[in-house]
Symmetry: C2
Subunit: 415 residues, 2 copies
């Protein structure tokens, strides 16, 4: 049987979204908890489906990393279920009154938080994104249209079946979660252009997926972009603290977007700091400008492109700067607007850095690795936006909502 | 001399935006008030330039409406100056702390309101948009790149000269306001694709401009879209109130987006209401469904397309519905998500309408004409967004900002 067409799935999701939008928090939380239970109950089925996916990917020559991202286990399915339960435990963002007033003519005006409607998620081969994303969208009152990769199709079908069944048991339409099973490129492009149906498209994946979305999508998008994050060690830095922060930001998990990719050091402390940092960063490939290289034997030369690169690996670009101004200019030139840190004991330098650096998050005296929804107290994270419109930095449930003006009068007309 | 290229103007605006972003409210307000003074002082020059534009447009066969939009006068320039002074008097949105907390590990987290950066405005032949838009953007800390129509070029150059001079006198870079003087289409498309420079593009104009922006723009946009607004007269409506609201919403200013385009009447009151409404709406062309036509002799038949049309004229589509559900479904099918009103004394009906109708603004017992930034208390209006991401409904200064996480620690690293 041919998979259901993208427009038809869109119609179903949109119809379901209208019902979900006004569902109570209790009903939504029941659906999430039932979804968690069903994932655990169907672990064997999900693992079987996942096994087919893994075998298929391996036979097509997938890399070990790709296979690792694709592979589920009892523990990973347990984590997916726990994730849904944690989302259920968060406060419902829908219905919150953002602000309001009574106008001189007696009109009552409120701005109320409401769901977006239908959220499209296009993602790569991690089947856990299926439940993570759908759970967050559902909590915020949105129907979810999922489009995963062909390599994870059987896994995604199995996971979505649990979520749909849970929604139905909770009294919601099953179509609050729909999966695009046609994994061809034309269907993906059709999906990205479902204007009037998809209220917000969130791509979750690497650079090539993001580039395709930017090129092809006509529906509104939130881009979870690159993190070319800097740590600037100021003249007035506590160098022990700076060392700990640089090592943590670079090496604690180098493959993620909030890891540091570039180290900027004030020339006044470069002598004292850089050789120590190089030793502490053993195993990290350092590429630097001339002043940095003069202090660290064996450091290779950094090109302009290196300074602009999100390595996502144990590589760090290094530059010595004349001061705060040059650091801020360097970040303005090369940064991706994700997370930028300063290490300093100088209050004025910290304040200027926070004010003048244009990024989703600016960090004083802490690792860039804290720029993450859970660490910043959002409870759950949909991604980290590097765009400025709608949502910026770590996105929680609020990013999956919009607002509506509710205006109440007693017969007012305009003069 | 060839006009400065679009990318070069973008570079200048972006450099200026970095300085403007951290300017104090006092400096920005000084620039706005000086701009108002200069517009008034240079009224003769502006009117002379505008005269050339009007003559040119007339010789190219512009319609009377187009000429009216283009033509300035002492009074219109005075209104532009007053507009800048009113914006100066508003509270500065920049620096407001949206929310914040201290995490268990001692990290202090704040979400702070910051400017977007560079805002692009592409608009048609109203030269007053030049100062209105640039003034609002400047107040919110943003540099503005303006691209008006060729027909208004001389007027726009004259107005922008005042604003740039005012910025300079206030100690800001003149490039906080730049005008694209190349009014050809290739330059417009280049403008809409200035990725990495324009942080937000706001088109101000008619359907064809919006369509071009949707098709061509690759920078983030806020669409100030159609208003196919409905008034639903419920079974429990006060019919006198309903009559006043329908007449006001349709006829007080029919050419604007928050005017009503469609009237829905509950069948229980259709007999009593529709013939009265038809008399009160004398001069308005009514097009209706069969049930409406049976009650109003001479009403022509409304097509599906009529129900989907924003007439922006003295035309009103009319349908009789079986109840609230049908009214909500009709609005979901035909509405453009702008402003939707119900007239009712039934609390449950009002609440359901507010909850279930998906629009930028829902209105109970008042005219749709109130859905406007000034009327809802925003102080000034950049437009009315019919999209859901970033800003929805009337947009004030807040819509011209975004947020930044500011994270302060004392050496925290992630475990």
């Amino acid at each position: 049987m041919a998979p259901t067409s993208v427009p038809e799935l869109g119609r179903r999701a949109q119809a379901a979204s209208r019902i979900l939008a006004t569902a109570s928090g209790a009903v939504k939380d029941t659906a999430l908890r039932l979804g968690a239970d069903l994932l655990e109950q169907h672990t064997a089925d999900i693992l079987e489906a996942n096994g087919h996916d893994v075998d298929g990917a391996a036979s097509l020559g997938a890399t070990a990393t790709e296979i690792d991202r694709l592979r589920l286990s009892d523990a990973r399915i347990g984590a997916m279920a726990d994730g849904l339960r944690q989302v259920a435990a968060l406060a419902d963002p829908v219905g919150a009154v953002v602000d309001g007033s009574v106008r001189p003519n007696g009109l009552s005006v409120q701005r109320v938080r409401v769901p977006l409607g239908v959220i499209g998620i296009i993602y790569e081969n991690r089947p856990n994104v299926t439940s993570d994303a759908a759970g967050l969208c559902l909590k915020a009152g949105n129907a979810t249209m999922l489009r995963g990769s062909s390599s994870a199709l059987a896994s995604n079908i199995a996971v979505v079946a649990c979520l749909r069944q849970a929604a139905g048991k909770a009294g919601l339409p099953e179509d609050v979660v729909v999966l695009v099973e046609d994994t061809g490129r034309p269907a993906a492009v059709e999906f990205m252009r479902l204007e009037g149906v998809i209220d917000c498209l969130i791509p979750r994946g690497g650079a090539s997926l993001l580039a395709t979305v930017k090129q092809e999508a006509t529906v509104p998008c939130i881009i979870d972009g690159d993190g070319n994050c800097h740590v600037y060690v100021d003249a007035a830095a506590d160098l022990d603290m700076a060392l700990a922060i640089v090592v943590n930001a670079k090496t604690q998990r180098p493959g993620v977007c909030n890891a540091a990719e570039s180290l900027l050091v004030h020339r006044a402390v470069a002598d004292a700091f850089l050789p120590r940092a190089a030793r502490a960063l053993e195993g990290v490939e350092l590429v630097g400008d001339d002043r940095a290289r003069a202090l660290v034997p064996g450091m290779t030369v950094a090109s302009d492109e290196d300074f602009a690169t999100e390595f996502l690996a144990l590589t760090l670009s290094v530059a010595v700067v004349d001061g705060l101004d040059e650091a801020i200019d360097h970040i303005a030139r090369y940064g991706s607007g994700h997370s930028e840190a300063i290490v300093t004991t100088d209050l004025a330098a910290a304040d200027r850095f926070c004010r003048e650096v244009d990024a989703g998050a600016v960090v004083v005296n802490a690792s860039t690795r804290f720029v993450d929804g859970a660490e910043l107290g959002l409870g759950a994270e949909v991604g980290i936006s590097t765009q400025k419109l709608h949502a910026r930095g770590p996105m929680g449930l609020e990013a999956l909502t919009c607002t509506k003006y509710v205006v109440r009068g007693d017969g007012q007309v305009r003069g």
